[in-house]
């Protein structure tokens, strides 16, 4: 297309085209920047652990037969029993807890109920902090301690959250002993629906029990009855702030029991995240471990 004597105009045209494309590119990037949103473009072939793990959902396997394998999120050998307790909890929710929460909502304005929720959250700091330590999450630990000190004092016993509102130190992810066990490689075990308490698992039920030892309310000078009263109050308070999540699940899902079970399993797995220190792998000698490191023939170059 370019004739020799046209070289200059040709070059000018190309330059103009380059500029056009450049300006388009830049303006589109700028448009993305304008919203102040971080944009990360990963070249298609590149392996990016974070992206690939987040994407995880077998999209790459869509066309091979990985779809034949049924995904079990959590095993449920006690399903009949669990369904019984689920039914019981459902009735407890609709006929006792929810009506009480509605009445409570009328007595206390929302801002006050949020403050009560804050105080409960603040008191439970030792539980989260202890589990931060056990999972080497020192930044979270420091954040928890800072928030605890500031909110307990300036925030009037944790009713308010000046640590976040004034100092900008936001909440970090909750940690509990179930997650700590998961951090070291423990799976769900099996699904459990506990009466009154609700969805749990073999691992998380143990976790909740262990966590009570770090719960300051346990050591308060109150009777057992009062202790459960405080716990119930916390539940009623949080229900009063909830936007009918459970009602929505019951209304919209084909089988609420199955929906809650799947959601529980997924949520706990997400909370635990990547397992860095799988003790079960470390403590069991894998075959290839023997093969590769203790096979003298391999040392000799076979």
């Amino acid at each position: 297309m370019l004739r020799k004597n046209d070289k200059k105009t040709g070059a000018v045209r190309v330059l103009a085209a380059v500029l056009l494309v450049l300006s388009l590119t830049v303006s589109s990037l700028w448009a993305a920047d304008k919203g102040g949103v971080k944009t990360q473009v990963i070249p298609a072939g590149q392996i990016n652990d974070q992206f690939d793990a987040d994407f995880a959902d077998d999209f790459d396997n869509e066309f091979d037969d990985a779809g034949d394998v049924e995904e079990i999120l959590i095993s449920d050998p006690l399903e009949p029993l669990n369904r019984g307790f689920f039914w019981f909890n459902d009735k407890l929710y609709f006929y006792l807890m929810k009506p009480v929460a509605r009445g409570y909502r009328l007595i206390l304005p929302q801002s006050a109920r949020i403050a009560v929720g804050n105080a409960f959250y603040n008191v439970a700091t030792p539980v989260r902090a202890a589990n931060d330590v056990m999972q080497f999450k020192f930044k979270s630990l420091a954040t928890e301690l800072y928030r605890f000190i500031v909110n307990s004092t300036v925030g009037l016993g944790g009713l308010f959250d000046p640590a976040a509102k004034l100092a900008g130190v936001e909440k970090v992810d909750d940690e509990d002993f179930g997650q700590t066990l998961g951090y070291y490689g423990t799976g769900h075990g099996f699904y459990l629906v506990l009466p009154v308490i609700g969805p749990s698992s073999a691992r998380d039920a143990v976790g909740s029990l262990v966590d009570t030892f770090a719960d300051p309310i346990r050591y308060a000078n109150i009777t057992t009855l009062e202790y459960y009263g405080v716990k119930s109050f916390r539940v009623v308070n949080s229900l009063s702030l909830d936007r009918d999540t459970y009602e929505g699940i019951v209304r919209d899902s084909l089988d609420p029991y199955l929906f809650v079970r799947a959601a529980y399993a997924q949520r706990r797995t997400a909370q635990i995240g990547k397992v860095d220190y799988n003790l079960y792998d470390i403590l069991t000698f894998e075959d290839d471990f023997w093969d590769e490191d203790f096979n003298p023939f391999k040392w000799l170059g076979n």
Binding site: A11, V14, P43, G45, Q46, Q110, L254, L258
Partner: protein
Amino acid sequence: MMKKVLFAFSLLLLFAPMALAIPQPQAEVEMMVSSVLDVLQQEKLSLEEKKAQVSGKVQEFLNVSSMSQRTLGAHWQGATNEQRQRFSELFVKVLEGTYLNRIGDYTDGEVQYLKQRVKGDKAIIDTKIVTGEMSIPVQYKMIYVNERWQVFDVIIEGVSLIRNYRASYGEIIRKEGYEGLFALMEQKVIAMQGTAGE
């Protein structure tokens, strides 16, 4: 010199479409969310009117065939074309009903767009719904098909909606067969329409 310019030009041509594609996935999510919020935040409309107006708006942003296929998972292979078709139709209605029932609760929320990641034809958009007392992380997974970005999964607080459906529906199919599932879905759709005015 000429060659260099041409080379630079071809490089740009190569990368420009990619660069141009960057803002799109998140823009699609934003369009979807705001098209719904715009309706919901009109105070004059009754909830019923709002739902009628929102209905159908979300569908074009979703990749329904991909969502249906993923939801049935292993059972997609075993289904006849008719069953697949029937499932897709019912599933869209269930999804829409669920969405419409829930969205009303979060109209006062503000949606923050945190991050978008694009890798080839896949994208992950991180957002957060912030209301007075809580903030809920919501992640959208998207694929690029038919020259646009479409959502095929929503992950709320680490819970993938599609995965949840897959686990529940798979179990229902195993126990009651496809027809059992369809019957349950039909019942649900009717029940949802019944409560649409609440």
